[in-house]
Every structure is written in structure tokens, then in C-alpha cells.
């Protein structure tokens, strides 16, 4: 039977069991969040033995070469010696530059950008609370334009990290963040391509980053941003986006407000998927970004695919909740 060695403990691994679940079963606390290979909060390092390739999928080469792997995806078949990832290699201490509300529930947090902190707008970083609880937040800032990192954080009822960031963190406090990752971002290989980006709630954060990045990189095709919200009050950065729409011929800002305040001019009788299909017309060569609520993102992905979008042109960023 395969086993792992951790803290001088030898722990047997059942076939198909992950390193994360084996360690948790033995009472070792290993930080983790999504348990599905997305957030990278469960990063550990192997000091001896062979790491299965699946446990390193999506990691930067620099991490792979140092033996880092994702504990939630690691099902070893041979003995493996593992340690918790030494923090200094992967976490940065950064100052909070600004802390203000964009609407009643959404906090905009600007953080100092550490040297060598490379990222693409739309990727996400991990914010750590007390070393052990990590949550992913998407980047709305753009490296060539902003010298800070910008995050939009929605207050979740009873949420550990979101409430802490809203209530207990303020300007000049120090936060610990872990490098950016994720593959939902702009690449300048098809500057004429039509782009449709839809985000619900704080799904707007990665999408604003991607749009500003595309504009900065001189994207010439039409760019349609759709912000989906339950109520008008859930929209944010409305004026900023309207201004952007005015300034750039190729950029179009749309809202999709579902709930029945029909008196309000922004109320939309169309559902979000109808709206996207309406904007899209011909999706064959359209690049699509979908961010926010996981159920909605997955169902939109299918709708857009069935309507003719190519799977390789659909970038999805479901904000899946943490299981810790």
C-alpha cells in the first residue's frame, strides 16, 4: 500500500484517497478550500518520492520544479514524503491601501502590489486569514495601469473571511496573499474577435479586469460586458462602466436586473441567458467569459456552447464555495 510521511508520521493511503483527506482523517490540519484543484490553498511540497502529474496540473513551472503539489488532487501510488509549503516562498505580506464600499454588500480592497507579483487581470489570488483559512478573490486591477491590486469582496452571511475583510480590516493593516492563478484572462491573439463577458455579483471583478486589459491591449472587436444582478441595488461601478462605454466605441456595457422593481429603468424582462444569446447572435467565433455564481456559470456555459460557441473559446470562473 502507498503511504505518506508527514511530520515523522507514516500514514497509509487507501487506493484513490487524496493526501489531503488522509491527513485530515489523521487529525492534521491542512489548509484547503475548494477541494477540487482550483484555489491552490492546499499547496504542499514533496521532499521525497514521486508526485502524480494530476496533482501538479495548472501549477506554475517554478512551483512544479520545487516539488509543490495540490494535496486535494494528489493520489499517490508510491511512498511520498510531504511537508506543508513553507510560507515565505508563496505568501506575500501586503499593506491595505484603501478599503471602501461599492454598494451595501461589496467591499473594494486595494492592496499594495509586491515586487515580482505577476498576474493577469481576471486571475485570482488567495487571501489568508490567520495562516490557515484561505479564500480566492479575483483581480480587477490591470498591471500596466494600476500599481495596486484591486479586489471586490461580497459580504457572505456568516462568511468567515468576507466578514473579517469587511469589518476588521482597514487601511494600513497587513494582509497575507498568495500568488495569482487561474486561466480566465485576456490573450491578445485575436484582436478582432467579438467578446462577451457576463458576471453576476462580484463576478464583475474579474470581468472588469479582463475588459480593461483587452482595451489596454488595443482589442478592436466588440466587447460586451453584462452585469447580472438580482436587484438594482446589487449593481456597482455603474457610472464607471457607463463612462467606459462612452469613451470606447468598441465597448458596450449592459445590465441584467432580474427582480421585479418594474418601475426602475434598469429592470430587464429577459433572463441572463436570453440576454447573452440576444447580444451574441452568431457565437461561432466569439470569446466568452463567465464569472460568479457557480450554478449560473455552469448553466450559461452549456447554453452558450449549445448555441454555437466553441468550448475552447469559453472561459469560466465559477466562484465555488469553500469546504473547510
Amino acid at each position: 500500500m502507498a503511504y505518506i510521511v508527514f511530520d515523522d508520521d507514516r500514514i497509509d493511503i487507501e487506493p484513490g484517497q487524496t493526501v489531503l483527506s488522509a491527513l485530515l482523517d489523521q487529525g492534521h490540519y491542512i489548509p484547503h478550500s475548494c477541494r477540487s484543484g482550483i484555489c491552490q490553498t492546499c499547496l504542499m511540497q514533496a521532499t521525497d518520492g514521486e508526485v502524480p502529474a494530476a496533482a501538479q496540473a495548472g501549477l506554475k513551472n517554478t512551483l512544479v520544479s520545487q516539488g509543490y503539489f495540490l494535496a486535494c488532487c494528489c493520489k499517490p501510488e508510491t511512498p511520498l514524503h510531504v511537508i506543508t509549503a513553507p510560507d515565505k516562498n508563496i505568501r506575500h505580506a501586503v499593506n491595505v491601501i484603501s478599503h471602501d464600499l461599492l454598494n451595501a454588500h461589496v467591499l473594494r480592497l486595494r492592496l499594495e502590489r509586491p515586487d515580482n507579483f505577476d498576474y493577469h487581470p481576471g486571475q485570482f489570488l488567495t487571501v489568508w486569514k490567520e495562516d490557515t483559512v484561505g479564500r480566492s478573490y479575483s483581480l480587477a486591477s490591470v498591471p500596466g495601469i494600476d500599481n495596486y491590486l484591486e479586489l471586490h469582496i461580497r459580504r457572505m452571511p456568516n462568511g468567515k473571511v468576507s466578514n473579517w475583510l469587511h469589518d476588521d480590516i482597514d487601511v494600513d493593516d497587513v494582509l497575507h496573499v498568495q500568488a495569482a492563478t487561474g486561466n480566465c484572462f485576456y490573450t491578445p491573439d485575436a484582436p478582432e474577435q467579438k467578446m462577451i463577458l457576463a458576471g453576476t455579483g462580484t463576478g464583475l471583478s474579474p470581468i472588469i479586469g479582463i475588459v480593461r486589459d483587452a482595451l489596454q491591449q488595443q482589442h478592436r472587436g466588440e466587447i460586451h460586458l453584462v452585469h447580472g444582478a438580482m436587484k438594482t441595488d446589487d449593481l456597482y461601478l455603474h457610472q464607471t462602466l457607463q463612462d467606459l462605454d462612452q469613451r470606447h466605441n468598441q465597448f458596450f456595457y449592459h445590465t441584467n436586473v432580474l427582480h421585479a422593481d418594474e418601475d426602475h429603468p434598469l429592470y430587464d424582462a429577459m433572463s441572463l441567458d436570453q440576454k447573452l444569446l440576444h447580444i451574441g447572435e452568431d457565437l461561432t467565433d466569439c470569446r466568452i467569459f463567465l464569472c460568479g455564481d457557480p450554478n449560473l456559470v455552469n448553466s450559461l456555459k452549456k447554453t452558450m456552447f449549445m448555441a454555437g460557441a466553441s468550448m475552447k473559446n469559453i472561459y469560466a470562473d465559477p466562484f465555488i464555495a469553500a469546504y473547510d
Partner: protein, 121 residues
């Protein structure tokens, strides 16, 4: 003489066919339930494996792996009618891509050759 895989267009044809094929399969009520996985990307990659094999391309699948790979579907009632439906969708996909009728027949023959393994017989 070029091989079937080369005539159809190799890896490029697999990439072109996979979206069309997967879209047809998801729209086909006879079989869509089997394919409606949570992770569409992963499903697309698996369908690429299927297409490469059916196009006579390089693949590592054996009768045993076809058996193991579909056993959980056989438990859910997979039978000849589903295999027929898959082959039909495959044919329609290739027709849309302008593949010659004789080549489409050859593809169907390859798919048929593993029918018994797919159905655990």
C-alpha cells in the same frame, strides 16, 4: 496510400469535430443523460479520445479499457440502441464536415468493432 485518419484530417479534424459532435450528443435525448457531466471540459477531452479512436488515429485504448470505461454506463442501462445513436451522431458530424461517405462508413465500422466491449458482452 494515406490512412483513414490522415484522409479525414488527423488531429485538426478531431478538434473541429469535437464541438459539433458533443453538441449533437447533448441535444439527443436518447443519449444526452450519459454525457451530461458536471465538467464539460473534461467531457470534451474524453470525446476527443473517442473521436481519435473512431477515426483510426493513434490511441492507447484496448478492448479491456473500453469495457472498464463503459461498465458504469452499462449498469445504468446502456444498450445497442445507444451505440447506434452515438454512431449516427458521429456520421452526421462527419457529413457536416464534408467527409466522404466511404470514409464515414469506415469510421462506423471501427466504432462497431468495439460494440461488444462497450456493452460488456
Amino acid at each position: 496510400m494515406s490512412s483513414l485518419y490522415e484522409r479525414i484530417g488527423g488531429q485538426g479534424a478531431v478538434d473541429a469535430a469535437v464541438d459539433i459532435f458533443y453538441r449533437k450528443v447533448l441535444a439527443d435525448e436518447r443519449i444526452s443523460d450519459y454525457f451530461d457531466g458536471v465538467d464539460m471540459e473534461e467531457q470534451i477531452n474524453k470525446q476527443k479520445g473517442f473521436l481519435t479512436m473512431a477515426f483510426g488515429g493513434p490511441n492507447e485504448y484496448t478492448g479491456k479499457s473500453m469495457r472498464d470505461g463503459h461498465a458504469h454506463l452499462v449498469e445504468r442501462g446502456l444498450n445497442d440502441s445507444h451505440v447506434d445513436a452515438v454512431i449516427e451522431n458521429l456520421g452526421a458530424t462527419l457529413q457536416e464536415l464534408g467527409v466522404a461517405a466511404a470514409d464515414i462508413q469506415e469510421v462506423a465500422d471501427i466504432a462497431n468493432s468495439v460494440r461488444d466491449d462497450v456493452l460488456s458482452r
